[in-house]
């Protein structure tokens, strides 16, 4: 079975980490002390949060933590109606359980509670004093679920530690923040990304031109995960083991789709075009792109095409406004459309002037 490069060359232990040496050192100290607090790991996408969690678990529990399997658990959110269950996928080993709450939906409070209780019920094995529950993407937890975690964290502290990962600490309520040790994982620097790309390329015996490595790091905005994926797809497209500087970065499908929307918006500002854009945006949403992400990328594309400073600023302000309304509301398409229409109006006005 051939793995993606990202998975194949993912560092397995803290010793193999490529960047953020001081952070690695700190994690090692935590593992060694035998007393881990609850952790809150925050950082942008592709900075290596999950990788570090895995490595930390390995450092604590040894190779046993790597015997992972995916399980489907049945959880009954309401104890009064035990027949009404939800199936969720969790990754478990003998020492830990990892869950992504965005899979669960609006019953997340009960489900997370049940999972933690289940883990805490069985005593830790192999002379360890605690087990670990990893909640990935904890920013997606509802406020309700986060509030419920407060007490649970204290109650099961003896046998069960919780690791939350999220992309922005702002999404975690303050009482939870104060119960965890926050660990910030910054995105790797441009040089780090290039270094890792070169290292992986060497392992795969691919010749990678430094210029191309630089190009990838720029295009993926220092996102390690995307950078590696991009290099692999470039290699597959070029179908040769040497990636020279003349190769362009392969563009991802969503990027092309959003580009198309941006072009449409710029080409004609009319109700008819707005309807067409609606169809396209629905397609993007159906492809499971996060709505906030669509809005951001669209805004970035539109701003890049402008020359007038005031239009740029008003576009950014509009995007900021509609992003916040989107977070309050429930129907994402409205807000993306509202942004598109606001931009069309502003753009038309500025062109006529």
């Amino acid at each position: 079975m051939s793995l993606l490069w990202v998975d194949k060359h993912r560092p397995k232990s803290l010793d193999e980490m490529d960047y953020h040496d001081d952070l690695t050192e700190r994690l090692r100290r935590i593992a060694k002390s035998g007393e881990m607090p609850h952790l809150l790991i925050a950082g942008p996408r592709g900075a290596g949060k999950a990788t570090r969690v895995q490595a930390l678990l390995r450092e604590i529990y040894g190779p046993g933590a790597e015997m992972r399997k995916v399980e489907t658990r049945q959880v009954a959110p309401n104890p009064n109606t035990p027949s009404n269950t939800i199936d969720i996928q969790v990754v478990v080993s003998n020492h830990h359980l990892s869950v992504t709450p965005s899979d669960i939906g609006n019953k997340d409070r009960a489900v997370i509670m049940q999972l933690i209780k289940e883990v805490a019920q069985h005593p830790p094995i192999g002379g360890h004093t605690f087990k670990v529950v990893v909640i990935e993407d904890a920013g997606c937890l509802s406020i309700d679920a986060q509030a419920a975690l407060r007490r649970t964290m204290e109650k099961f502290m003896k046998t069960c530690r919780i690791i939350l990962t999220c992309d922005s600490v702002s999404k975690i309520i303050a009482p939870l923040r104060s119960r965890c040790l926050p660990i910030r994982v910054a995105a790797p620097s441009n040089e780090d990304v290039q270094r890792v790309l070169q290292k992986v390329a060497a392992k795969e015996s691919v010749k990678l031109a430094p210029e191309f490595a630089h190009k990838i790091a720029e295009a993926t905005s220092r996102d390690m995960l995307r950078a590696l994926l991009m290099m692999e797809s470039a290699q597959a497209q070029a179908n040769s083991n040497s990636l020279g500087k003349e190769i362009t970065c392969p563009r991802e499908a969503w990027e092309q789709a959003i580009d198309k929307v941006a072009k449409k918006v710029l080409s004609d500002q009319s109700p008819k075009m707005a309807m067409e854009v609606r169809a396209n945006v629905y397609e993007l949403l159906a492809a499971c792109l996060p709505p906030v992400f669509i809005l951001k990328e669209l805004c970035r594309k539109l701003v890049a095409e402008q020359h007038s400073e005031s239009l740029k600023q008003s576009t950014l302000a509009a995007a900021a406004h509609f992003e916040s309304t989107m977070n309050h509301g429930t129907k994402d398409i409205f807000h993306i459309e509202a942004f598109v229409l606001r931009f069309m109006a502003d753009y038309k006005a500025s062109v006529q002037r």
Binding site: A147, R150, M157, V169, S170, L181
Partner: protein
Amino acid sequence: MASASGDGSSVPWVEKYRPERIEDVAQQDEVCAALKNSLQTGELPNLMFYGPPGTGKTTVALALMKQFFGKDWRARVKELNASDDRGIQAVRDKVKTFAQLTIGTSGAADLAASKARFRVVILDEADSMTHDAQASLRRIMEEFVHVTRFIIICNYVSKIIEPLHSRCSKFRFQPVSGEYQKHRLLHICEQEGVRLGAGALERLMQLSKGDMRAAVMMLQTSATFYQDVSEDCLQEVACAVPDRVVDGLVSRTRAASGTDEVVRIVQEFLLEGSRARASVCWTSCRAIRTCRTSPRRSARRSSRRRERTSA
């Protein structure tokens, strides 16, 4: 942590140094005076404690219970908080059955000796209860007033329905003052053998903003995992953005030639993984304070930043 590991380092300092008697919860003079009175008479009205986090609401409630009922206080007290199920069904089942029970004369000596002839239900974090559940409490509170008292604890008094307000005597908890906080933190440091770096105490107080629990938590995490309590460590622990980073951001944006450059600078800043929302408010504070042009411009800047912030 040398001294802490001796007697079970897993006990958080917040619990270890939680005041045991209401006299020790300094700061909240008004509350304490009223409650001391009721300790002497053995009478207790329904209570509502509200105020910002970390000001001692739960501490006072628990200390009061201990002083009322002695060491077996748990037999008389039911504590429910947000992690327990507190929908309308739970209120009807659990709270009502508990509230109905009469007080026996047998049982532990402490309890029998206690002047207080009632049970207590503590509803912690009550602002996260649904309105329906709160409404179902109204009748329960009145009906069983001869055997049961309620202590409702919340951050936002406005999230508690009006009829419950009128059934309780309300106490507002003030943020803990710098003076007292300093005294208490120094006491903990002394007990645990922690050495504070220069300016660390001031920083701790500034970051916690009168939240005693946050301050103690920060102190413990910083001491345990950085082996040293200095300004920088505290900043990391509090997820705060260091002043120099905010300053750098403001000065770079000011020097920027156009919108594109501002966007780039902000993006770079966000890739460092700092707390975006908090940075927005710190940055705009700083920008407005140091702004030579009109405040509108800095406000616009902060809105641009917000665009990149996933709220």
